[in-house]
Amino acid sequence: MAIRSEPITINLGPQHPSTHGVFRMRVTFDGETIIDVEPIFGYLHRGSEKLAEERTYTQVVTLTDRMDYVSSMLNNQGYILAVEKLCDINPKPRGVWLRMIASELQRIASHLVAIGFLIQDLGAWGTPLTYAMREREKILQMFEMLCGARITNSYLRPGGVFMDAPSVFWDVLDSFIASFPKSIDELEKLITSNEIIFSRTKGVAVLSSKDAIDASITGPILRSTGVDWDLRKRDSYDYYDDVEFDIPIHEAGDNYARYLLRVQEIRESLKIVEQCKKNIQPGLVRPHHDEVPDLLKPPSGDCYVAIEGSKGELGFYLVSDGSIAPYRWHVRSSSLINLTLLKDMLVGTLFGDLFVTFGSIDINMGEVDR
């Protein structure tokens, strides 16, 4: 005879060490099985979109840093591309190559954080996370050389980047490209074939490609369900047409596929960095002040530019009324939209899989709430 049980509702968060920020879930359990999940967010809302309406176009770059604070360079890139489209600015080639290097390095750093914290959520306290963070540290040090900051970069400016990379940077980048494949092999040896990770992640929280497309999920989660969709190839921006790279795709759609896909994407990003380094030519990194003034006044109109961020499609919608500040600034944040299928993924799984699934989605609360 089965034991009679009653559903019980538990609040997880907003201040829980595993929720990657101030995120709250109201979870209903039947025994140990999840029967309902209700995500509640908004605890980190800072009103970035409203703040942008009283700042000039250059000043808003500093606000984009603070949205998804583990991939600031990618946020900068998306916003700057939107501004360039709105003001019809021709960026300088060296600036574009430099910002491609920076944003691909940032993608590596962001995926390393995602992998590290996924394993942390599995219960491997500290050890694999340290391996991931050690590599991220090297990237952050390179960012410090480029722009003097590690997290809140503000490196990009309309038309390129604010200043050329120092000569030391190229040597460090060379040694990073040489040593990084070994480090990622080491991380994979530690995690990929581990039986405990197999049993905890394979076949857990499976997402079908139809559900993912219907909920307009993008990024590594969509590609792990077998859909070939990467904006770097589909709607190419900057010079991504001129570099060669593959888009890794998995069919399984479970937590393990999401992890493995990120590792493969890191390798592809490194390939892009290598090619950018080969293609870069000496020259100006940003247009002269006469061409592109510091105080931009775009003609009235609107534009939408989306890039392939580390977590999915990162879109920026800018409306200008001809003044020095944007009339409206809207961000299509991939983290928020990837969260919408949380309930479908989690219902039917066990309590222990909750945070693993949550870690594999790889959200960032700074981007969800903005």
């Binding site: 700042r55 250059t58 000043q59 770059v61 500093t62 606000l63 840093d65 050890t127 391996y131 050690r134 540290e137 040090q141 410090e144 050389m145 480029l146 722009c147 003097g148 900051a149 809140t152 503000s154 604010f162 200043m163 120092p166 030391v168 080491e186 040896k189 530690l190 995690i191 990929t192 074939s193 581990n194 039986e195 405990i196 197999f198 510091d294």
Partner: protein, 225 residues
């Protein structure tokens, strides 16, 4: 074979156990006797005579010396560097600041007051308690009067102490960062080793003299009038 993947992972951690250490101790680290002697700039026998207690502690590797992490010279740090004799009080920095935390008050000074050729600065303050160190003010400065600082260990008990007013900015140590200052990078100046009190070395060009202003600006304006 089940368990093979686990053993492979454990071998990785075992190898790293004997590898180089990548974490650093901060703000102090434990040092041995040689490192301590180098830090105090004394010979080992001198330490034995002068500070007997520290000598024995250092032999046991238990004496502590402060650590300063090496940072690149472009680091956007605390403690802005401001050269008052380079500043023309144009307030570009205040206009560029996304948070509006730079306060400037001026009154017309100099000889030709009617033309407003020269401004005296009454108040120049930066509220670093609200600053996010984006560096846009430094980018805006046309005369290289304002530079980012290099310090990052500035904690105070009172919020008002974080406001850098004119007197503090003039009197404090000047270690300008090379952020948006290519002249520092080309001259291989290292802000972590030396300070730069001389304002003439800090700029890409000299501050315009009164005659330059008269020739280029005051006369032009009077012509157009």
């Amino acid at each position: 074979m089940i368990g093979f993947g686990l053993i492979k992972g454990l071998l990785v951690t075992l190898r790293n156990l004997f590898g180089p250490i990548f974490t650093v101790q901060y703000p102090d680290k434990r040092a041995g006797i040689f490192e301590y002697a180098k830090f105090r700039n004394k010979s080992i026998s001198r330490i034995f005579l002068d500070e007997r207690k520290n000598f024995f502690l250092a032999i046991l590797n238990y004496v502590k010396i402060p650590v300063r992490n090496e940072q690149f010279s472009r680091f956007r740090g605390n403690e802005f560097v401001w050269y008052d004799d380079r500043c023309t009080a144009c307030a570009s920095c205040a206009k560029y600041c996304p948070l509006g935390i730079i306060e400037i008050e001026t009154h017309p000074g100099g000889e030709n007051l009617q033309a407003g050729e020269n401004y005296e600065i009454d108040k120049f303050s930066i509220d670093t308690g609200r600053c996010m160190f984006c560096g846009l003010c430094v980018e805006a400065c046309p005369y290289d009067a304002l530079h980012m600082g290099t310090d990052f260990e500035k904690g105070t008990y009172i919020r008002d102490d974080l406001v850098l007013d004119k007197e503090t900015l003039i009197s404090q140590k000047k270690n300008p960062s090379s952020w948006f200052r290519p002249q520092f990078e080309s001259s291989e100046y290292d802000p972590w080793k030396e300070s730069l009190p001389d304002s003439k070395k800090a700029g890409r060009h000299e501050k315009p003299t009164d005659e330059d202003i008269k020739r280029n600006w005051v006369n032009k304006r009077s012509k157009s009038e």
